[in-house]
């Protein structure tokens, strides 16, 4: 059993990198009612700062609009949907982390597309027109939201150009050209706008040095670097689903750390680094996303990732998502923290737990993070350490003992409020399996699933001596637990005797 004496003095500050950004389904989906309901819930319980997703420039957002009729020919830039999307984000307190892509069909040089929704992944037919499009987008945003606002929006050039299905031929040369044209176009509008890339997928270490060389050689602006991190192996398809092997959580932290090492000594050293996508699986139909394992395996990543990068963006906040066609079942292994119908998955709760942590880190380890906030409240996040596919299966329980600093010398009691998520608690997926995996649950079954998604809650009064309380936690398999602890200021008046409530106390005899 882990046994820790949590120091009373902070050992560090908890970075906000974990909630700096979150991923979203393609931008057209941001027009949806369930998307909006999901984002409201996420923002009210977690509060991300930025949102990033594909498809801003794709046909179904409708910005790039060539015309040719009645003797008139030209290109219109239309923001009918783009405005609705961004207006709605800003209303919910979240800003765009702009990803420029994919290619509008009217500007594309080829027919190759990605995903069910057919994002065109070919270079522009004309780089001048591309630059004009980029500038139209940025200028319109400035017109509508103001320069001060738009300067806060990172602008990322394309998505995973190192993969052949996201960028025709995965051509480095073509990407670098696109990057240069885009960066110049953006900076031409306003020099303080932030532009970056190369938004590469895992396994593309060989892109970093050439990218650094290229931008150095041609003096191309780069305000941040971006890349992705995932821990699953190759897809093993079944109908409407995928299984994959899993690498251990540490793999994600290793991936976060790697670019900084590779860029040391280059012009890009020290730039802000954004993991613009991460999760276990990169597949939108892998049921691991729906499990408590997902939460337990990411807990140490959220606890430590901020030491390595400036943001790491969970891919994605909800299952309103359609890369592989429309989901055929309420649970379908989607990327989201929230399932369809706003069902909260275990990883949603992990994030909601993180949102309750304090700023001051008191202790951090392989199975715990302890913080304190300005009001003195101490918060413990604990989890069962899990490995990947090759690790031995996790045991049925895991125990920690912590000595928690709380209150002051006069404190005699602390209130401890525990919220737990594991295979049985806060787990609608488990309940749904027991229900027989109804693809389209009835309205009544949806009510049951929502109830089943609520974390288990329990409260205790801890004895405090010398400003310390002992907290022993036994975690179930794949459990993530939050314990919120505050020193009790006892307001009980002397005349109260709870035994008298049932009229049974001797001293209560009328």
């Amino acid at each position: 059993m882990t046994s820790i004496v949590v120091p009373a003095d902070p050992v560090g500050t908890l970075s906000d990198a974990w909630r700096q950004c979150v991923g979203t389904g393609r931008l057209n989906l941001a027009l949806r009612q369930d998307y909006r309901a999901s984002l409201e819930l996420v923002q009210s319980q977690i509060g991300f700062r930025y949102v990033r997703g594909h498809g801003l420039l794709s046909d179904d957002v409708g910005i790039h609009r060539p015309y040719d009729a009645a003797g008139h020919r030209g290109t219109q830039y239309a923001f009918t949907y783009a405005d609705q999307i961004v207006d709605s984000w800003l209303e919910l307190g979240i800003r765009p982390f702009l990803e420029l892509g994919f290619m509008p069909s009217g500007l594309a040089s080829g027919d190759q597309t990605v995903f069910w929704w057919k994002g065109n992944v070919t270079p522009p037919r004309d780089h001048g027109e591309w630059a004009a499009l980029v500038q139209a987008v940025v200028r319109h945003a400035i017109d509508r939201y103001g320069l001060d606002e738009v300067r806060q929006w990172p602008i990322e050039v394309w998505n995973e150009p190192n993969l052949v299905h996201f960028w025709q031929g995965a051509s480095q040369e073509a990407y670098f050209r696109l990057y240069e044209v885009t960066a110049a176009a953006v900076k031409d509008v306003d020099a303080e706008l932030q532009v970056g890339g190369p938004a590469i997928s895992p396994g593309a270490d060989d892109w970093w040095a050439p990218f650094a060389d290229f931008v150095t050689a041609r003096d191309v602006p780069v305000d941040f670097v971006s890349f992705h991190a995932y821990t699953t192996g190759p897809a093993q398809p079944v109908p409407f689903g995928t299984y994959q092997t899993l690498r251990p959580p540490q793999s994600l932290l290793d991936q976060f750390a790697r670019p900084a090492k590779l860029l040391a000594g280059t012009r890009l050293e020290g730039l802000p680094a954004h993991v613009t996508e991460f999760s276990t699986s990169y597949r939108p139909d892998n049921p691991v996303h729906d499990t408590a394992y997902q939460a337990a395996s990411l807990a140490p990543v959220l606890a430590q990732g901020g030491d390595l990068v400036d943001s790491f963006s969970y891919w994605t906040f909800c299952d309103v998502f359609e890369e592989e066609n429309i989901p055929t079942s309420v649970f379908h292994g989607g990327f989201g923290m929230l399932g369809h119908r706003q069902l909260r998955k275990p990883v949603f709760h992990l994030y909601a737990f993180m949102a309750r942590m304090g700023d001051a880190v008191l202790a951090r380890g392989a199975d715990h993070l302890v913080t304190r906030d300005a009001s003195g409240r101490v918060t413990v996040l604990a989890w069962q350490p899990v490995g990947g596919t090759d690790a031995p299966d996790e045991p049925g329980s895991h125990a920690l003992r912590l000595s928690i600093p709380v209150g002051d010398a006069t404190t005699t009691s602390a209130y401890a409020h525990r919220s737990r998520v594991d295979d049985e608690h806060g787990n609608a997926f488990t309940a749904w399996r027991r229900l027989g995996r109804p693809a389209s649950p009835s309205r009544r079954q949806l009510d049951l699933l929502h109830e089943a998604s609520e974390p288990g809650r329990s409260t205790t009064a801890l004895e405090v001596t010398g400003g310390r309380a002992d907290l022993t936690l036994t975690l179930s398999r794949h459990e993530v637990t939050l314990v919120e602890i505050e020193a009790v200021r006892d307001e009980t008046p002397p005349w109260l005797h709870d035994a008298r409530i049932l009229g049974r106390a001797a001293d209560g005899t009328p």
Copy 2:
């Protein structure tokens, strides 16, 4: 341990009497924001049909308004607030069970008042003016809401006239006169309006025969009879609170049954009988209302009360209530199912559980009620049987074993969804005591209390053989548990193997 083979065929129908009506704080309080929020919650989870409370005619609703200025003198009937109150009820799908009282000061014959808010409890100075007031109220309601609507509102004459603090001198003669004048005034507006009384408190058996005699002798209309039921003994005050002894739950059922016995053979025999107030304690500052005991003790009453009366109205739906001055603490022993800030008490959950029961009763006993609804879902309400003050303390646990009929011969599995309320679950009062009983919890503490008020939830897959599943329930002290059971229609496709989610299954090897 109780061991029951629940029959597959219904033994009866569950009456709706338990949710026919609910009590409310004085009507002026219905104008409040927290009242509205509380009633919305109650209606969405429970759905009462009628609401009854004091003070419709009291000065703070402002209906009876004599004037004398600039040479003009008369009485105005003003419905500024009354309309807001009733409009708001009807919007939430609940109708008034009108209680006519207390006396407007401009019509009162004396100064005696009851409660902190000073309801005048003296007879009218002029019975003709009283009749005019009653008719003005009824006619205005018909004007605004239509005759069909108002004919559905029972009209009850006064409240607990057998008690000296509710009716000056507790004069039976004066009450009978008031009743007669009122009933005549109401029927004069429309003969199908429903009028009744005498709304007496417990311990007034001696009022029934005289009331029956009086209305028979003078041929006074009576459409229903009404009375109250409570189980606590005398108040033992402490500052801002009261302790009392408790009689066992059966006492309530006995009280429900008594008037029918006393009225047998009179003209009032067989009339609808409404318990227009009931609870354990009749004090608004007795902490028993906040406990799991309250729920456990009322569970058998809700299960059986409908056999005895046409309605029994829990006093009251929320703690927006001021009989004994303004509560000084968030929990204060108030009557409500909901505490301040819409904190759900155990008895709220008991009612919400009842709202999920089916129409067909399969079994009913001292610790359980089993029903089935039209869709085939079986619902078990189980509770620990509790006694009163003089009973031995309840044991720490109570067990039941039930053989439940579910599905048909082909069914192999059932989903069981359990919601529990006891000292530890669904119990904000326990959490609040551990927090040191903060009179004014911080906004953060209120969040914790709301979480603590959520029932414990757990799910299981029950094996079904021959259309039957075995359900064993172990209840904690003062627990009330709801188990919702439905036959599983398994939609799991043949290609799913959950072991592969973690990539560990032999057959998942890539």
Copy 3:
């Protein structure tokens, strides 16, 4: 000037056919946030009973889902989106008028598509699979919503099969085969489900006799007949828009009436007839939809259409619509009563005015409809009569004089409340043109446009003598006006003298 003495006794009853049904953009769009907000507004102000649109079976609703992976092959029917759509409609009090179409690509016999969103318009590759799909849809609906509910949903087979772009080759034979297979499949699920067609466009009179012959010869069930009506001529395209000539409003009424004449004497005589689409223009980019002309020209159609058919469904309730790609501007000639951002167009107000009419028709003419409701309120809808393109331009004003029966012999005054929509009032389109037609109005400009969309309101006190009041209305060009009239019950007390409010009255001298 029209001068009418409105009779006090009703001459008829106003049919509800005008609000029986309304059109919608393709069903996938029903998932959108702005669609939901628009439908809420429409339902709160108008209250349609049914909604009909294309694309239930198209790929972007995702019902028909063949699979072939890991050795498993088959077809899944998935209702993930369909359930969200129908759940949401029912929540807003509107039922589906199901249109079965277009063809899922996995079941299509060819590649021909219609619209930007590529609805496949070819016959099924296999009619047995089509029947299986239809039955799966109907059975799922019954499972989820109950048989009693689904029996109330008309089921229409396909859309405008007489046009080559909606049905490959416009083949009558192929359509009749589809109809027969579909009707049989539906009735096989439940004989009381209602099925109908042929949903033909204007100009297809030659389909009626063959359709009647076919269903008679083969004894195919038909529960209702359906068809469409529009008044515009051929499209004259400009970029992002279309102009067309207009036929006069009477043309719509003639179209409504025609099928009944053609079907006289056939087996289809007397069946319910539904105009499942109508408007002036059949183009989603014709600005006439945004004008006051649209409202003025449809006013007589709404007033009289119910005499001819059982429903006529305005195409469509809002501009969340994408037949011709994504709109490039907030106003774009869309079909909707509501523009983007829920801007109310004049025709929205026409419908909202109709929703305030009473049941009893007192008078009806070329420029007016006068009704009375159960409470005695008299409502006048008046409009400037307009012609089509070939008619001389409408004059700048149009006047009516009406003698209105109101109150009784004792009534001395009536309150008249006028709401007007014309080129200047209730007309956001006019304001938008004055603003310079901003394609993407700023948030502030949207506020101004919403204000400009509010009808002009004015109130008057009419003198009443002998139960009659004279009402003279002068209408502006293209005006539609609603006047709501109620007899005044004067509650003014004798002591009020409004001149004293400013302290100026002689008798107010202190």
Copy 4:
């Protein structure tokens, strides 16, 4: 006719004093549903910074709670309601301007009360206990909301102590003692909290010098001075109402200016000055509050008051108010900007118009205020100048001609958006009188009244030459008009010809 050439360069900055603070009914009423709905509307359209009202310490908020039971005796400070009130204000973005009063009955030295709700107006029985109460209130606020927050809340000592009905005997000496004790108590908690007074009514010039002398002599802290301003003469009662004579609007500005003159040369010179109440009438039952005259007469006060004081707080934001018993009619001459049922009165619109003004003042005169905001939008507020009772009656109309600077040399057109309020527009009171003054309007009549309360709107395209547009405004009697003007950036494409919409243009021939 006024004819003004509005300069293009600002002549000053518009102070925010007009929306710094607003008055409210007694604090207990802040618990009400209609209060909350009203404040939401006011905050969304106007956005006040602070709210001030009576009764924080009165019994019906329940803070001061002596107890004596079961051998326990003492005083509890209870914040059950106070927290709900302040929580709710802060949620709506408005802060308390704390008024300390009236006296809790448990601390009062006498029985004298004011108003229907019986606020006790006697000095404390014990000044030490009073100081303890004040400190308990302030400390609790700091605990709950933080010191930074509470330092922003002005703390005003009592209300109108110069009047015998608000302060027993109107004793200056007793007030000064109360002030001193209170200020010391507040500063003892935190020296940066702001305390002030003397909150005197109009006509108490003789209090200023003694107050300055007293606080100087005894070195008592004063952070701001406060006083009230009204323009009506003595009350002339009728049943449920009051008439009064009116002084001209300039009288208010004179009252605002007076204390600064009287305090010149004293220690109080230059302190922030707050008019903590102002309106025309000081009676809650004077119908002038409901009229367009009220708006027209206060328009110049809002335009200029900020030059004289730091805030002037309209008394009050809504008619949820009960000084003279419960209103007997929906309109009753209440103080509010909003009537019951959130009916917007003309003065509400005046404030909403002010909320749309820019920061830069371009022109200001007896009938107009012209501003420009950062985006270049020009806003004109114009009103008919009105006098008081002794002035000749206002003429039926009033005209202005303004030359408005708009856009730049390239601008050819401006959009002008006019919103008007007068006897006929934005005037539910007029409509209500025509309806026969229904005391309790039906739900349908309420809908009509809400429609009638909407300002008249009209739009125009102004021709712009040389950066200037001519605007001619003809105002009705008692009209207040807002005109919002912005330069048009014309996006009309060359292919649009509106004449073709109706298919009538020659060039549209197909």
